[in-house]
């Protein structure tokens, strides 16, 4: 019986459900699971394939007391949801797990093939005899992680101080190319990217902060910011809606990009916005349950940007 299982079982004494992960032989990786009792909880695992941000389920569990196994970054989403009144602090039990970074499963599958068991050992990951340096297949958000220490938690598994955050990464590959583009090139880049969008709204479904769900204007098209056609133009406007609504709220969990079935690099835009929010307003979403999102407040004395660009 691992420490994680024991702690989940303890939390289940007062919670109706605990959100966590189990291993899936089919996927060769962890998949989310809802534990309702001690027996179910015995299957709980935490490893570097536990990529999902389980906070996405919390707003829909408001009528119950829910436990959640959460990485440091996931906790930021919980904090943001608490600060927006979508989750009640007294109804959630946070089981914090020490996280040395999680892998980009798409990258893994590209390297090793789908459905094989991944062995994460030290700096190397191994699958069916092939190995790769661990940092190379981590999610981008994990590189230079600032959230290894749990911001708030009720139950701590392991020693959060025992994990070292992965080193920050250079902006290589797509990010390097994107940085070098002119506005016109970026425009063509996005036209190409969004021409692949199938308007499935998986990005929105995966986002813990897109709690509007079925009344989201990306989908209702009322007001008529975007039409229902599946083309680059409408898809891009739909994404503008989501990005606009996440301004000052996005915790950068990368779930939207991970969920995208056609691989649109949405994080290029959200990272840009999060950087701008931090620079302009000194605010990182989900780091202070008392803080108000920066677009719902103003500061007469310090909001002194020069509008005359």
């Amino acid at each position: 019986m691992t420490e994680l299982v024991t702690k989940i079982q303890e939390v289940l004494n007062e919670a109706d459900v605990v959100l966590g992960w189990v291993h899936s032989a089919a996927a060769g990786a962890a998949v989310p699971a809802w534990f309702h009792n001690a027996v179910e909880a015995e299957a709980a695992v935490f490893d570097s394939t536990c990529v999902h941000n389980l906070a996405v389920h919390l707003p829909r569990l408001q009528d119950r007391t829910a436990g959640i196994v959460a990485k440091g970054c996931d906790i930021r989403s919980v904090v943001q949801l608490i600060s927006e009144g979508q989750v009640r602090r007294d109804r959630v039990r946070i089981i914090s797990v020490p996280c040395p970074g999680v892998v980009d499963v798409k990258k893994v599958w590209r390297c090793f093939g789908y459905g094989k068991k991944l062995i994460d050992a030290g700096g190397q990951v191994e699958m069916e005899g092939k190995t790769a340096p661990r940092e190379e297949i981590l999610l981008w958000k994990c590189r230079g992680c600032r959230d290894t220490a749990p911001l708030i938690s009720d139950v701590v598994v392991g020693d959060p101080a025992g994990v070292a955050p992965p080193s920050p990464a250079e902006r290589t590959g797509l990010r390097e190319r994107f940085d070098a583009m002119t506005p016109a090139e970026r425009r063509r880049f996005w036209q190409e990217q969004f021409s692949r969008c199938i308007r499935c709204n998986a990005c929105r479904e995966a986002c813990p902060l897109c709690f509007c769900r079925d009344v989201c204007t990306m989908q209702t098209r009322e007001p008529h910011w975007t039409g229902g056609q599946i083309n680059a133009r409408e898809a891009e406007m739909a994404q503008h809606i989501r990005i606009n609504h996440l301004a000052g709220r996005c915790t950068g969990c990368e779930e939207c990009e991970r969920a995208c079935p056609v691989g649109i690099p949405l994080m290029l835009l959200l990272e840009e916005q999060n950087r701008a929010v931090e620079k302009l307003f000194g605010y990182r979403a989900g780091t202070d349950p008392e803080a108000k999102p920066p677009l719902l407040v103003f500061d007469i004395d310090n909001d002194t940007w020069d509008s005359e660009r």
Binding site: P183, R187, E272, L280, F298, D303, S307, R309
Partner: protein, 135 residues
């Protein structure tokens, strides 16, 4: 006609009145601007700016009451934050930031309004029309 199209999003109380004052004083202006009247810059949804670009605007100009002077006390303070963030996002979205400007023109600043329109139109004309397609 210069061939560029500019959308102006103006608050009713200050900038729209300032533009009226410029008109009453017969201050000649470039004609590329089309003004949409709003109660307040706080009513300006950043999406409306992006929508304008997507629909083919070559520039978008937002203008309201000077900070401290908002008819609704606080509207332009919120607007300033929203629009500042929008401006920071434009390059990533593939829109030249020079095509967007937000500013403050009071009801008595007809001359300043004229200067703003001239400056911004000149700036957008220098960039030329945006090539077609999605924003």
């Amino acid at each position: 006609m210069s061939g560029v199209k500019i959308i102006g999003l103006l608050c009713n109380w200050c900038s729209y009145a300032g533009a009226d004052m410029a008109g009453t004083a017969r201050m000649k202006q470039p004609a590329a601007l089309r003004v949409v009247r709003l109660p307040c810059t706080g009513r300006v949804n950043p999406l409306l700016v992006l929508k304008a670009f997507q629909e083919g605007a070559d520039g978008v100009l937002v203008s309201g009451c000077h900070p401290g002077d908002c008819h609704y006390n606080e509207g332009n303070y919120y607007a300033r934050r929203r629009l500042e963030l929008l401006a920071a996002m434009l390059p990533a979205l593939g829109i030249e930031p020079e095509r967007f400007r937000y500013t403050w023109v009071s009801a008595s600043e007809g001359a300043r309004w004229t200067e703003v329109v001239e400056e911004f139109t000149g700036r957008v004309e220098a960039l030329g029309p945006r090539d077609g397609g999605a924003a």
